[in-house]
């Protein structure tokens, strides 16, 4: 505890009110050969590590001291140095050739020369995603960075993505990385327009993320958006339109095959199917449910400004109509990034990002009984019509009313069109903002104060009308006031962060020392108003709470949490040969009980630039060889709720006064702590044409959070240990480099092994469908647990399972480990080929060695009830002597979770192909113009029999339930055509 007071005191002692003069330089950097703008060029004052990077259009702006030397450097190009005496516009053209070590990258709370980086950091530039029809940052990362696994668990527009950096190091806590969007620390990058992004840095190891303390455990993704440049005015417009479609469907039985099967189940089901009212009806439910999706995107941006005031602003609109009704995602975004150099010692910067998203959800990853549209489309009986009007004799003659969905004779089932008619909309308004001051207190001392806000308000509305569906009619309840279901949740999230840093830099000839001190206060507020009710007018089709007759549930929840942090980083560089980097953060959290609030997170790393040693000489072959090593510690507090140190009582829906406990007190709770060791090497060869990076790491997470169910109530506690170890390689090569023809490839591959070294108080925990994801000590996360099929008995068609416990009969002890959802490795492979103005970009992603539990097949091949089944059941056992792997109809044991539903989920996918043309000659005053066509998800190599091997889990929020496909909304194939112009 004393430590933080030390920091506080330190903070106030370093108050030296001296001032230094500062001047601004801005301009544009182009390739000397083709005069094309060069994005990503590093620009910095010599002898400092502060710098900027050119944007997509090659523009930059930097503030320096008079008589500083500005360095322009870019991978594969010759660096240039210019001495600056006054503010000016400086346009530079760089020529290809021998390169420099001077690129800078953004790291936590600052930038660093890439060559001197001591941590494991991956970079993804805008060029690798800006021609693709993507809606989120996660999609931008997919396949582009080693060690970053992105699983798009559903093809739904606006659907969530699982972003995992270096494996899974928690069981119940969130494992999504921390996003830092222009300094705004948040757990969600949802709604951020990828068109606004310049580049993304992923901090992977604890030596880099420890500076974020309790929030750094799952990795940190730093997102930098575009900024304006003085006297360089660019008005840009870009747009694409396209369509999407389902890639693959699953074939189901036709009506005759269906009736044969029903005959083996129960004659009454056949009688049902043959009922006169269904005569002549044969509905293809897939045709009724799937449609062609549509994509459109528009962005208008302006970048520019005067010498002292620079601005980037953009307006964007994106609309994606999904392939399954009613799914749709639309986003309206506006951004204003301002930089103002007030005087020689004060700079002000402000970013405002306004986002409005509209999401219409289609219920997926769920059985037909629970409203899952996808499984319903496959299993609904074809003899049913959509509407009761189409029954033989019409609606009234069959006890229904016109316009109602035809009732399904199976319990709780509706048809998929009925499920899709439910309204489930989420509208979010979000503002991300940042106001900062940069004060040069002394020549070498800069104070940065930043206040960030991330505020979102969302409106979730669910509505089932009181007329069309059985469910909505409350099973034809005579009381009209019980028909129709409405739900509205209004949620507000507030995330305020107030941070101060002091950065001190000193340098002599051989020594360079950079010290960062900082402090931060972060506040999270959450409130939610829940309102649910029944009784709506017969004609109402979208929620109108004013018409609600009876409130069944009303509740307000309000919660808050705060953290206070002090942090420091010290970087020492000796002759650009040895770099040592130490970080430390102390964080206090309001979630934890007194005496347990404060945690301390150190990290230390070092790099040895072997190629700068005299003995290395002037090596023709190797341009750069760097060895890196680091150790660090980070925390994860995201699984600990706001008031974890209190025992809380539940709200009783029926009776607000009744006392029902929901969780138990644990005053000893603390965050999960990850200790991380990383060793890496960077090798650049052949005149910077080949760049190779390798990292090996081991991450051990202790004090895992566990949720013990005591009589159904939660008791959170810390215990156990999980280990992730892995190797990552990335290889960038510039295979062909000539005036007209250029070919770049980028290949990355990540191997990961995971193991639960020590488990908590329970013997195991299970998650996911039928509890098939089982976690226990000594085993990797992601295991599947179930029965092992012995045979389909040829004499009676019964499925028989291996008698694991030797008990002589089938019981729960016969279950065993039957697969694992974790891949052995994942990879991404990018090729960029350009000839004059024509470019071809190809992205291939893949995953190898992971199993999928195809739970959809339990519903599609179970043969338990009158649901339609897939054509796989044509191979079922039907008569004595049949040798097959599909049991007889109506075998109650056929639906147990077993290895017959485990499939190899490995795949390699042609994720995206873009063909573009950059006009070489301009007209109408355009400065650049590009047209392109992109295909996404063009082909997938896999043995997986379901819609798509990229699956998440069904209805589990934790990261450990995974690899389960239970009617997942499939990935879509998208074709777009786009245009980008600049004035």
């Amino acid at each position: 505890m004393g430590l933080k007071y030390y920091f506080q005191i330190l903070f106030f002692f370093i108050v030296n009110v001296a001032s230094a003069q500062s001047i601004t330089v801005n301009g544009n950097v182009v390739d000397s050969k083709n005069k094309q703008p060069l994005p990503g060029v590093a620009i910095f004052a010599k002898n400092t590590q502060d710098g900027v990077v050119t944007d997509l259009d090659g523009n930059y702006s930097i503030a320096i001291n008079p008589n500083d030397t500005l360095v322009f450097s870019f991978l594969g190009f010759v660096s240039q140095e210019v001495v600056i005496t006054q503010s000016q516009t400086l346009n530079i053209s760089l020529s290809e050739g021998a390169s420099s070590l001077e690129e800078v990258v953004v790291v936590g709370y600052g930038t660093q020369k890439k060559a001197l980086v001591t941590n494991a950091i991956a970079s993804v530039g805008a060029a690798s995603f800006d021609d693709r029809p993507i809606t989120s940052v996660g999609q931008a990362l997919q396949g582009n960075a080693a060690g970053v696994t992105v699983v798009q668990s559903s093809g739904k527009p606006g659907g969530a993505l699982d972003i995992r950096i270096r494996g899974l190091n928690s069981i119940v806590s969130g494992v999504n990385p921390l996003f830092v969007i222009d300094g705004v620390q948040t757990y969600s990058a949802e709604g951020v327009n990828t068109d606004d992004i310049v580049d993304i840095q992923i901090l992977k190891d604890a030596t880099a993320t420890a500076i974020y303390g309790i929030n750094g455990s799952a990795g940190v993704v730093l997102i930098t958006t575009k900024r304006g440049k003085a006297d360089k005015h660019v008005l840009g417009f870009s747009s694409y339109i396209g369509t999407s479609e389902i890639v693959k469907n699953i074939e189901v039985l036709n009506l005759d095959q269906y009736k044969t099967l029903m005959g083996e189940l129960s004659s009454s089901y056949v009688e049902q199917a043959n009922a006169p009212k269904y005569a002549g009806i044969n509905t293809n439910w897939s045709d009724e449910v799937f449609r062609t999706g549509q994509d459109e995107n528009y962005e208008l941006s302006y970048s520019g400004g005067a010498k002292k005031l620079r601005v980037f602003t953009s307006l964007g609109y994106q609309n994606t109509k999904g392939i399954v009704r009613p799914s749709r995602f639309a986003r309206y975004s506006g951004r204003l990034n301002l930089d103002y150099d007030v005087n020689s010692w004060l700079k002000v910067y402000a970013n405002v990002n306004l986002i409005k998203t509209e999401l219409a959800n289609t219920s997926d990853n769920n059985s037909a009984n629970q409203g899952g549209v996808i499984l319903s489309a496959l299993t609904t009986q074809q003899y049913l019509p959509i509407y009761a009007d189409d029954l033989v004799g019409g609606a009234e003659a069959n006890g229904q009313l016109p316009g109602q969905f035809a009732s399904n004779p199976i319990a709780s089932l509706e048809n998929p069109v009925s499920f899709a008619s439910r309204q489930e909309d989420t509208h979010v308004n979000r503002i991300l903002g940042n106001l900062g001051f940069e004060v040069r207190l002394m020549k070498n001392l800069v104070w940065n104060q930043s206040t960030t806000i991330d505020r979102s308000s969302s409106e979730y509305e669910f509505f089932v009308d009181s007329y069309r569906s059985n469910y909505g009619r409350n099973n034809d309840n005579p009381d009209i006031a019980t028909r129709g279901i409405g739900r509205q949740y209004l949620t507000k999230n507030l995330n305020l962060n107030f941070e101060n840093t002091l950065e001190y830099l000193t340098r002599t000839n051989d020594h360079e020392l950079k010290v960062l001190l900082g402090s931060g206060i972060q506040h999270f507020g959450f409130n939610q108003d829940q309102l649910e009710g029944i009784g709506f007018g017969l004609d109402l089709r979208t929620l109108d709470l004013g018409q609600m007759m009876d409130t069944t549930h009303a509740r307000r929840i309000e919660r808050e949490k705060n953290t206070v942090s002090y942090f420091t980083r010290v970087t020492y560089n000796f002759m650009d040969k040895y770099v040592i980097n130490g970080v430390f953060r102390a964080s206090g959290s309001s979630q934890l009980a007194k005496g347990h609030k404060w945690g301390y997170f150190p990290g230390i790393s070092a790099a040895w630039l072997v190629s700068n040693e005299p003995f290395f000489g002037n090596n023709e072959l190797i341009s750069l060889l760097k060895l890196r090593a680091g150790w660090g510690r980070t925390g994860n507090i995201s699984g600990i709720p706001e008031y974890a140190s209190y025992g809380l009582a539940a709200f009783n829906f029926a009776n607000p006064d009744a006392l029902e406990q929901i969780n138990y007190t644990n005053e000893d709770l603390t965050w999960e702590t990850t200790t991380d060791i990383n060793i890496g090497a960077d090798l650049t060869m052949f005149d910077y044409r080949v760049k190779f990076t390798a990292d090996i790491f081991k991450r051990n997470t202790n004090d895992l959070l566990f949720r013990l169910k005591i009589e159904g109530k939660d008791y959170l506690y810390n215990a156990g240990e999980v280990e992730n170890k892995g190797i990552e390689f990335s290889l960038n090569t510039h295979n062909i480099r000539s005036q007209n023809l250029n070919w770049n490839t980028n290949f990355n591959i990540s191997f990961l092994k995971n193991k639960v070294i020590e488990f908590g108080k329970n013997r195991y925990e299970s998650y996911g469908y039928q509890g098939v994801n089982l976690i226990e000590g000594g085993q990797p996360l992601g295991n599947f647990f179930g029965y092992a099929v012995e045979q389909i008995n040829p004499s009676n068609g019964n499925i028989e399972y291996r008698d694991i416990d030797g008990g002589g009969f089938l019981n729960a002890a016969d279950r065993t480990i039957i697969g694992n959802a974790m891949p052995d490795f994942t990879f991404g492979f990018t090729n960029s080929l350009s000839y004059k103005g024509i470019s071809l970009d190809v992205l291939i992603t893949g995953s190898q060695g992971n199993d999928i539990f195809n739970a959809s097949r339990i519903d599609l091949e179970g043969m338990q009830d009158p649901k339609n089944q897939s054509v796989a059941v044509l191979q079922r056992w039907q008569k004595e002597g049949d040798i097959t792997n599909i049991p007889r109809a109506n075998d109650p044991n056929a639906v147990l979770a077993s290895d017959r539903f485990i499939e190899d989920g490995s795949y390699a996918r042609l994720k995206s192909v873009t063909l573009s043309y950059n006009f070489q000659k301009m007209f109408w005053g355009l400065s650049s113009m590009k047209i392109y066509a992109t295909g996404q998800n063009l082909a997938t190599l896999t043995n997986y029999s379901g819609f798509d091997p990229e699956v998440g889990s069904n209805n589990e929020s934790t990261g450990v339930a995974r690899g389960i496909d239970y009617g997942t909304y499939p990935q879509v194939r998208t074709f777009i055509f786009g245009l980008k112009i600049q004035f």
Partner: protein
């Protein structure tokens, strides 16, 4: 900005001020809208409202899916009263005597019983510390909670046999007290005899402290002294080594306690006679957003989807005309069943009829107790007395009296058959058969009717699954996840 040093100083002081003022205080947040449970060993119930809240959470037990659904499914669907109905594999398992330890119904009911007992413990353990209650109020609350606890344990031990006995209230678990609370957190099962001793003690408490019945129908909606006596009678009849004298004693107290059989059998179920003269203890459904939303009817009755508990041919054939009218309702549906292939006149249970959450149903009613006393008389040699009581129940539905019986076993058969007809779809059959030791003998003979087009006759065909039933199936397995995580538990044989 000429005053640069001044400006910088102000900025720094402001920043520093914000920090100094806030840091430590910021870290002490308290729940805003969430309700806090006090630490272990602290008096949890403080005010009259707290006590009433705890009492309400006990009453809410009857709105739980065990009482609304599983109770009737096991009692009737699991026996020869009804077929499974619906289309849910886990319920087919119960119907067909092939339950396994991962069946979710097993898991949820185990959890519910632990929860029911816990709710009662909360009130019983802390009610003495509520200063503003009168002694009468306090006693009545204790008496009621005790009877709810007795009922919960009674059901649990009938389902699982040995069952944990937990009397403590755990609110706060942490690393300091985890070990001391361990035996309550991970309880072993206690022998049936211990469980029954606890049940009997709670019934006695209820007899002493629970409220007396009044003339108001509402007094039947809560545990009363009479309800406690009736339950205790059944407990003595059900426990290992039944105490028939006690059964007779407590049955007599109830029979002479101001109750009478309704002359019209249908009035018991027509929802117009709630809290009637025959009712001893009933569940009072009050509608959809009330303390007890009685949704049970919708599970068993309706046309919108295939319902649970399809009446069996055996029941249909056995019922007299009066009771059949009140017990089974036939109407057209869009679904059929392997056992009732015609869906033009598909049968449904008809003892629950209100679909708006207001359905009441009986935990105990006089006919049940009269027949229980008959059972006790038969067990103690008074066969004639037993038959007289059976005939009392039969005469209400205008059935002829049964003649004299020759043996205790014959008497038990007659009583069981009468209970079968009288109490069908009230959740009794499975437990009645178990209590009398007739489960396998009777349930192994279940048949259904199949029409033979050649002979144009209905043939009685044995149910395909009756061979599944073994003595092991008369107790449920311990849920697998509970078993796996509690080293103090041993699975029942056969699972």
């Amino acid at each position: 900005m000429k005053n640069a040093p001044f400006f910088k100083t102000i900025l720094i002081l402001f920043t520093g001020g914000v920090f100094l003022a806030s840091c430590e205080k910021l870290l002490d947040t308290e729940p805003i809208t969430d309700r806090v449970v006090p630490p272990q060993d602290e008096q949890i119930l403080k005010t009259v409202e707290d006590a009433q809240g705890a009492m309400k959470s006990i009453y809410a037990i009857f709105g739980n899916e065990f009482w609304q659904f599983d109770y009737f499914y096991l009692g009737d669907g699991g026996s020869d009263v009804a077929y499974a109905g619906a289309d849910v594999p886990e319920f087919f398992q119960i119907d067909e005597y092939r339950i396994n330890a991962t069946n979710y119904v097993v898991a949820r009911d185990w959890r519910h019983f632990s929860d029911f007992v816990k709710r009662c413990n909360l009130l019983i353990n802390y009610i003495d510390g509520v200063p503003d209650l009168t002694k009468v109020e306090r006693d009545e609350m204790i008496g009621q909670a005790a009877l709810f606890r007795a009922l919960s344990r009674f059901m649990a031990t009938q389902i699982w046999g040995d069952f944990p006995i937990i009397n403590t209230t755990i609110t706060s678990v942490n690393s300091n007290n985890f070990d001391s609370l361990y035996t309550d957190l991970y309880p072993s099962r206690k022998p049936i005899s211990d469980v029954y001793n606890a049940i009997i003690a709670d019934c006695e408490t209820a007899i002493a402290k629970a409220p007396d019945l009044t003339s108001a129908p509402e007094s039947k909606y809560k545990p009363s002294k009479s309800a406690a006596r009736a339950l205790l009678a059944k407990v003595y009849a059900t426990k290992p080594n039944p105490d028939w004298a006690k059964v007779i004693q407590h049955c007599d107290e109830v029979i002479n306690g101001g109750f009478s059989l309704l002359s019209n059998y249908d009035h018991l179920f027509d929802n117009l006679h709630e809290g009637n003269a025959e009712s001893i203890w009933e569940v009072n459904g009050e509608g959809q957003s009330s303390l007890i939303n009685s949704w049970c009817t919708n599970v068993f009755l309706g046309t919108n989807w295939k319902k649970f508990n399809t009446p069996s041919h055996t029941l249909n054939n056995a019922l007299d005309s009066k009771r059949k009218t009140s017990t089974i309702k036939r109407f057209p549906t869009t679904f059929a069943d392997p056992y009732w292939t015609s869906f033009t006149q598909f049968p449904h249970p008809w003892k629950m009829r209100a679909t708006d959450g207001t359905q009441n149903f009986y935990i105990l009613r006089l006919a049940d107790i009269i027949l229980l006393k008959a059972e006790a008389l038969a067990r103690t040699g008074d066969l004639a007395g037993a038959m007289a009581l059976v005939n009392q129940v039969r005469s209400r539905v205008s059935l002829p009296a049964v003649g004299a019986v020759a043996s205790e076993d014959e008497a038990i058969h007659v009583i069981l058959q009468e209970r079968f007809m009288e109490l069908a779809f009230e959740g009794h059959r499975w437990y009645d058969l178990k209590r009398t030791g007739k489960s396998i003998e009777i349930l192994s003979q279940q048949t259904y009717s199949v029409y033979d087009p050649n002979t144009q006759l209905f043939l009685e065909v044995p149910m395909s699954y009756i061979g599944n039933l073994t003595p092991n199936d008369l107790v449920w397995p311990i849920p697998q996840d509970v078993l796996d995580n509690n080293p103090n538990l041993v699975q029942n044989p056969g699972y």
